[in-house]
């Protein structure tokens, strides 16, 4: 009987202390962590929109749209939102900025990806291209959204809604186009119905 009591007391005591310690620790680290997240978010938004003074948040059922505005100007400078979907090896998360009329992309930035190093990772940066390592993301600047984004292999794109795929990483490239097409359309529907 003594053993049983001791067992229960000791394990409960350890657990209580653990819970207490972690809770106190959390009040110390949680603000910092939230701050870090906010910083990351703001940096991502700032990258994909032209200059803005502040942004409003517009929540849809599935995402949050960051509406960048200049002081005193009603018309937003652009809309930024996260898009995510399946790439070749895992999830790809992007922050994309579009014009308020959803006619073209302002800029795109990949936030998270786990594509094949050296191939799929070229969607972020391509070190093998010495002149312009950022050639892939740069294709999205000013990319027309109507008709939908198309991916061309091996040739230089002719139309303004086309981008060139990464040689050897066509699936990653196509995944980006698919994610953007689908989700930009969805966000457009939700925003314009507000």
């Amino acid at each position: 009987m003594k053993t049983i009591v001791k067992m229960i007391v000791v394990l409960t005591a350890i657990s209580l202390l653990s819970g207490g310690l972690l809770s106190s620790l959390d009040s110390y680290t949680a603000p910092r962590i939230a701050e870090n997240r906010m910083k990351q978010l703001k940096a991502a938004i700032a990258e994909v929109l032209p200059k803005y003074d502040y942004y409003d948040e517009f929540k849809t059922k599935t995402s949050v749209i960051y509406v960048g505005k200049l002081n005193g100007v009603e018309e937003p400078v652009g809309l930024a939102f996260k898009t995510a979907g399946n790439g070749f090896q895992g999830k790809i998360v992007m922050m994309v900025g579009v014009k308020p009329d959803f006619s073209e992309v302002i800029k795109m930035r990949v936030l998270e990806q786990v594509e094949t190093p050296g191939l799929g990772t070229k969607i972020v940066v391509d070190p093998s291209n010495k002149e312009n390592p950022l050639w892939f993301p740069e294709q999205f600047e000013g990319l027309i959204l109507n008709p939908a984004i198309e991916v061309i292999k091996n040739l230089k794109p002719e139309k303004d809604n086309q981008i060139q795929a990464i040689a050897g990483a066509t699936i990653s490239s196509q995944a980006i186009a698919n994610i953007l097409n689908e989700q930009i359309a969805e966000v457009k529907r939700a925003y314009e119905a507000r």
Partner: protein, 280 residues
């Protein structure tokens, strides 16, 4: 610090802890195994070499067998008399005294005495050589000298001498029997120290073969049996088998007519043998 979250954290963690502790307590009661404390005490008095000399897989198995009454206290050949006495005390029985035993190598056919059959380029173990056309020596009963016995000894008590024959360190040997099992030709036997007469040969060949295979081989001439008497030495397959119970302690060899000095007293074998005769 947010008090609510602190209380919730502590309550949930503490609750989980208590819950699991209760679960473990129930398991402790329901799944309890009764262990005889004497087993651990006997284990403490065993050498802990896990050599298998007792015939059981390891010292803990032997301790369990002793406590269960399934093994003799003197069953561990490695244990000292003090250890045996302690175990007897734990089990509350009379201690027995067991005579010291040693491993004896019953072959005198080393490199100088034997004729080779072939050059062996296989795995250098006695077992592998023995399985390969009966080994690389003409005598298919004798020691091959690759040292399986050496490898098997947990006490470093046996080593291959200069002549290619295994030599036993009588201080270290505990008669655990591992070398006996390791030898593919059953050349090594465990005997009490009171046995001092041995036939240092395992060859079942007749004289016309042994004169080709080895200069120290027993050729089955029965001279020793004639000298000692059939009740003391029995001939089995051209080899003398000594009946130690009947013979008792021996103070001289039964015959001087053993041509190759295959039979002898154990002291005489300690002197290294050099032969004048070369086998071709």
């Amino acid at each position: 610090m947010d008090l609510t979250s602190l209380v919730v954290s502590m309550a949930s963690m503490g609750g989980l802890g208590a819950l699991f502790a209760i679960g473990l307590a129930i398991a402790h009661v329901k799944l309890h195994v009764e262990v005889d404390p004497r087993i651990d005490m006997v284990m403490g008095e065993l050498p802990g070499a896990n050599c298998g000399g007792c015939g059981l897989p390891g010292c803990s198995a032997f301790a369990e067998a002793i406590v269960a009454g399934n093994a003799a206290i003197t069953g561990c050949p490695v244990n000292t008399q003090d250890g045996v006495d302690e175990i007897a005390g734990i089990m509350g029985v009379q201690a027995e005294v067991k005579e010291k035993e040693l491993a004896r190598v019953l072959c005198n056919g080393g490199n100088a005495e034997t004729a080779p059959k072939a050059i062996y380029k296989g795995i250098k173990t006695c077992l592998a050589a023995h399985l390969t056309f009966g080994g690389d020596k003409l005598c298919k009963y004798g020691c091959l000298g690759y040292g399986d016995c050496v490898v098997s000894c947990p006490f470093d008590a046996i080593y291959i001498g200069d002549n290619g024959l295994p030599l036993v360190d009588e201080e270290k040997c505990t008669a655990c029997g591992n070398c006996v099992t390791a030898c593919p030709r059953n050349i090594i036997e465990v005997h009490p120290v009171s046995h001092n007469l041995f036939v240092f040969c395992k060859s079942e060949d007749e004289a016309k073969y042994t004169k080709l295979t080895c200069t120290r081989a027993c050729n089955g001439c029965k001279a020793c049996q004639k000298g000692a008497g059939v009740e003391k030495i029995e001939m089995v397959n051209n080899l003398p088998r000594i009946n130690y119970e009947v013979y008792g302690v021996v103070d001289e060899v039964p015959t001087t007519k053993c041509r190759n000095n295959a039979i002898g007293l154990i002291e005489s074998v300690k002197v290294p043998v050099t032969t004048a005769q070369e086998n071709k």
